[in-house]
Subunit: 161 residues, 2 copies
């Protein structure tokens, strides 16, 4: 294979890694979201928020932190939290030291709901992902994510506006 070619197309091995990543993600997430919705009427995006809050000190997180944690825009998170508040799974609380800030706080009902749903979700993750890989492969994936995300976040600023 000519080096020249490499400038344009991805090599086959690269494509297998990248394309498989995209497809696998799309299919797994679709399946897991489906299972969660059917069994608990809880979308994966909501589940994700509940998990983040459950793992945070005081069961609470600032809106901006939470948005980063679940990889959602600020406004997207505001809307998602609105819905969770309506359902009684989360409540909002002012930040003492900064009157501009808001916490999203997991309620007892939210924690209970999370506990119900987590069995379904974790079973799904096991069945579709974890159990199909051996220890070595799991470690290899973790290392890959570390290299991709850990090694210097590369902000982009070289595009024409």
């Amino acid at each position: 294979m000519e080096v020249v070619n490499q400038r344009v197309a991805l090599a086959e091995a690269e494509l297998a890694a990248w394309g498989g990543f995209l497809r696998t993600h799309a299919e797994l997430v679709r399946q897991l979201d489906d299972e969660l919705q059917r069994a608990h009427k809880l979308p994966l995006s909501s589940y994700d928020v509940l998990v983040q809050l459950a793992n945070a000190p005081g069961r609470r997180l600032r809106m901006a932190e939470l948005a980063d944690a679940v990889v959602l825009s600020r406004s997207g998170l505001t809307r998602l939290v609105d819905r969770l508040v309506e359902q009684g799974l989360v409540c909002r609380s002012r930040v003492d030291c900064d009157a501009r800030g808001m916490y999203a706080v997991l309620t007892d009902a939210g924690l209970a709901r999370l506990r119900e749903a987590s069995q379904t979700h974790i079973d799904g993750v096991r069945r579709l992902f974890v159990d199909r890989l051996d220890e070595e492969e799991l470690a290899a994936l973790a290392r890959a994510w570390e290299r991709i995300r850990g090694g210097g976040a590369t902000p982009v600023c070289d595009e024409p506006r």
Copy 2:
């Protein structure tokens, strides 16, 4: 580590593999979509459709096949193709042998647009993904996807012919 624990929570190594998978995907896709939109006003979802068509025989695919290829619902694909038709990048064509069926066909303009955009996109995939991993790691990922999704499925290609 107690076996009992395994029934509920994921082990740390499992969580690193799974959680990293989700976060990495979300961040990369967001970044790549952004680059494509800024540089070419082309969402990643549209790009993906154009790629699938470019790699298909006769530059065309049945609606249902295309929906599967890009992991979108049937109706979602109908809408996406509507938009691409409006932009002149794709056109629809009846299936000869079955009057119910429709092809989505890549137009010359669509192919040209794809070629423009592919440089940006492939550079991005290299910079954010491929170049951060070595050959071994890429192969490990490909193997993992293979084990997770099993044998048969449409390969994702990345390059217009």
